[in-house]
């Protein structure tokens, strides 16, 4: 059977599964809609968190980015996993004990201020929208390549599915769909990785194959030595050595870690478990489930890069394998025969290099490059869709709760009934789906850049405000609000300046202390902390009842009522 038929089968089966779950898990109260009734078992929540967190970027782009970044790719690997240590130790248990629905809920109540609540609503919506556009674009790429429908149809199909289970089931529907999506995506990521590891190193565990010797067919020698050798030979950077400056890698890693711990769609997942103990456990499970993919990704990156170089360099253009031609049709890989010798020169020197490879196709095309069976190739498509849709759903829920709960119920119209609130939540998801769909079909050219935005902003706004709210009883609204505003404004300003106003200066010489816009969130976090603590010291301490709340969330015991 062809790849396309296999893809149809997998996509049809998995989508049917998601819809089935949606019908089974309809939400009837705001409690169910916002936090799945607070009764999700920690293991299931761990899986759901992992699917929520691992987006199209983790599934499709990350291994590809690493295979071109070499050792520097480590900031994605450590940044996007190390953040879970912060989340587990500094945030998740306390926020569960606090027992509300959303992140703006915590900020608004802890800092006894509508202003703080509204700032948090604003940050949550901006961060989530930026992020959701990338997911839709990822889904679009998969649809257009594997199902050969046009991008618009692809995005509309994806949006309809998400809309269906998010509107019906809210957090409850999303949670159980994400559990299924985790299984699909991890299977789809691991099967090709295991195949390729076996094929190249005879070792079935990709994490070990990464450090093993290649087998006879691939020329022997350690994989990484071979890759270093090939890279040097062709004038690329040595794979296992760093290219970026140490301080830049340091700051980007920290920004991704703080950002991970501050992303509202991840934080709210910990509101869904029954109690504090389960919140800690589910953070642990989530990290295990994430680590399975994240320790495989660098291996996939190295396999894919070696394989790509082996396959295409100096190959006769007329004799390239079939995948090359199919991906050429999507413009994600392109060849210009600069010296007219009919062969592909894939080298580090930009003047002689004849092949442009989009980073995103490394994972998607990897099974084809390695010549794996058609069903494995198709599986990757289903996995990529699961990754994109699960994250999109989590983000849409944040947008919807921010509007219906934080903006309507807690700020503008406190007198609405639960039924009305639920209706607002569903309308908000509907509108958010439409806007996200629009950007999926007409992607702004800068989606890749704005992802850095989401992390930097989450790092510089939420992370310090929540940590201080828990660990500093003395922290008051004046401190928190000024900290969030300064951190957010500084980070947003820096990114906007280098990405949109003056992109020409976006290089190591133009940057402040040699920190790229991707890593500036770390400085934003520090600015937030310093401003918040100094302003907090100079103003009145928070009211007695707020201090009592802080004392209560620090102690074990039953979580407060939702």
């Amino acid at each position: 059977m062809s790849v396309q038929i296999w893809t149809f089968i997998f996509v049809f089966l998995t989508f049917g599964l998601y819809i089935g779950i949606a019908i089974w898990s309809r939400a009837s109260s705001t409690n169910e809609f916002y936090v799945a009734g607070g009764g999700v078992p920690p293991l299931a929540n761990g899986m759901a968190t992992a699917a929520d967190w691992m987006s199209a970027a983790s599934f499709i782009s990350m291994a590809g980015l690493i295979s071109f970044l070499g050792r520097d790719g480590t900031f994605y690997l450590m940044g996007w996993t190390g953040g879970y240590v912060l989340l587990a130790l500094l945030l998740a248990p306390y926020l569960r004990k606090f027992g509300k629905f959303t992140v703006p809920d915590f900020i608004g109540d802890r800092y006894y201020s509508q202003t703080a609540r509204l700032i948090a609503v604003f940050c949550a919506i901006v961060i989530s929208f930026v992020y959701v556009c990338g997911q839709m674009q990822g889904a679009g790429i998969v649809f257009s390549r594997f199902l050969e429908v046009d991008l618009t149809t692809g995005v509309i199909i994806g949006m309809t599915i998400v809309f269906f289970y998010a509107v019906l089931g809210g957090m409850k529907g999303i949670t159980y769909t994400q559990v299924a999506q985790y299984c699909v995506l991890i299977f789809a990521f691991m099967v090709p990785a295991i195949f390729i590891s076996l094929l190249m190193t005879d070792n079935p565990i990709p994490q070990l194959g990464f450090g093993s010797e290649l087998n006879e067919a691939f020329g022997g020698g350690y994989l990484l030595d071979r890759l270093d050798g090939l890279s040097q030979e062709l004038g690329f950077a040595v794979y296992t050595e760093g290219q970026k400056t140490t301080q830049d890698v340091f700051f980007i890693t920290a920004a991704l870690m703080f950002g991970t711990a501050g992303l509202p769609h991840v934080i709210i997942r910990f509101f869904t478990v029954p109690n504090v103990r389960d919140a800690r456990r589910s953070a642990g499970y989530a990290l295990v489930f994430i680590a399975i993919l994240y320790t495989t990704a660098p291996a996939v990156a190295a396999f894919a890069r070696t394989n790509l170089i082996d396959t295409v360099n100096n190959a006769e253009y007329t004799e390239v394998p079939e995948w090359f031609t199919t991906w050429e049709a999507t413009n994600l890989i392109s060849f210009t025969d600069k010296n007219n010798d009919g062969r592909i020169q894939y080298v580090g020197d930009p003047d002689r290099n004849e092949l442009e490879v989009n980073r995103d196709i490394m994972v998607l095309a990897n099974p084809e490059i390695a010549g794996l069976p058609n069903w494995v190739v198709a599986l990757v498509a289903a996995g990529a869709l699961a990754a994109a849709l699960s994250t999109a759903a989590g983000l849409l829920l944040v947008i919807s709760t921010a509007v219906s709960h934080d903006l309507m119920k807690r700020s503008l119209r406190p007198d609405i009934t639960e039924k009305q609130e639920l209706r607002y939540a569903r309308i908000a998801i509907f509108v958010a789906v439409l806007i996200a769909g629009y950007y999926g079909i007409n992607p702004p050219g800068y989606v890749a850049q704005v992802v850095a935005f989401a992390f930097g902003l989450a790092a510089a706004s939420f992370f310090p405000a929540i940590v201080l709210g828990i660990f500093q009883k003395r922290m008051n609204k004046e401190g928190a609000i000024s900290g969030m505003i300064c951190g957010f404004a500084f980070t947003a300003g820096y990114i906007i300046y280098f990405k949109f106003i003056n992109p020409g200066a976006d290089n190591a010489d133009g940057w402040l202390f040699g920190i790229s816009p991707e890593g500036i969130g770390t400085l934003g976090t520090l600015i937030n902390l310093v401003v918040a603590i100094s302003v907090g010291r100079m103003t009145d301490e928070p009211p007695q009842e707020v201090q009592e709340i802080v004392e209560a969330i620090r102690l074990p015991g039953e979580a407060m009522e939702h």
Binding site: L77, Y84, G211, Y222, A283, G284, P556, M560, E561
Partner: protein, 96 residues
């Protein structure tokens, strides 16, 4: 409400969190970034040590850290609940 037990519970909690974050910082930022070139001079099989920590090793350590945290906190919780039920104080519950 904030009694002696609560105070020592919180101090124990901070100690656990700070020491685990110390390991977190050491493995990722110190070994994986600052000293990576130095550690690369050590080789284990097909891996240079610094490269391996940066791309895989640190993630394994993160997982271990979170599970150590879960265990230590369970123990701390149990101690706190024992001593709290020994006192006449009622257990910490809903405060709303």
């Amino acid at each position: 409400m904030p009694d002696k037990n609560a105070h020592s519970y919180w101090k124990g909690n901070l100690k656990i969190v700070l020491s685990l974050l110390g390991v977190w910082f050491f493995i990722s930022f110190v070994c994986g970034i600052l000293l990576v070139d130095l550690l690369d001079s050590i080789r284990i099989g097909g891996f240079k040590l610094g490269f391996w920590i940066a791309q895989q090793g640190a993630i394994f350590v993160f997982v271990i850290l979170v599970f150590v945290y879960i265990r230590l906190m369970d123990k701390l919780d149990a101690d706190y609940e024992d001593s709290a039920s020994g006192d006449s104080n009622t257990r910490e519950g809903d405060v709303e």
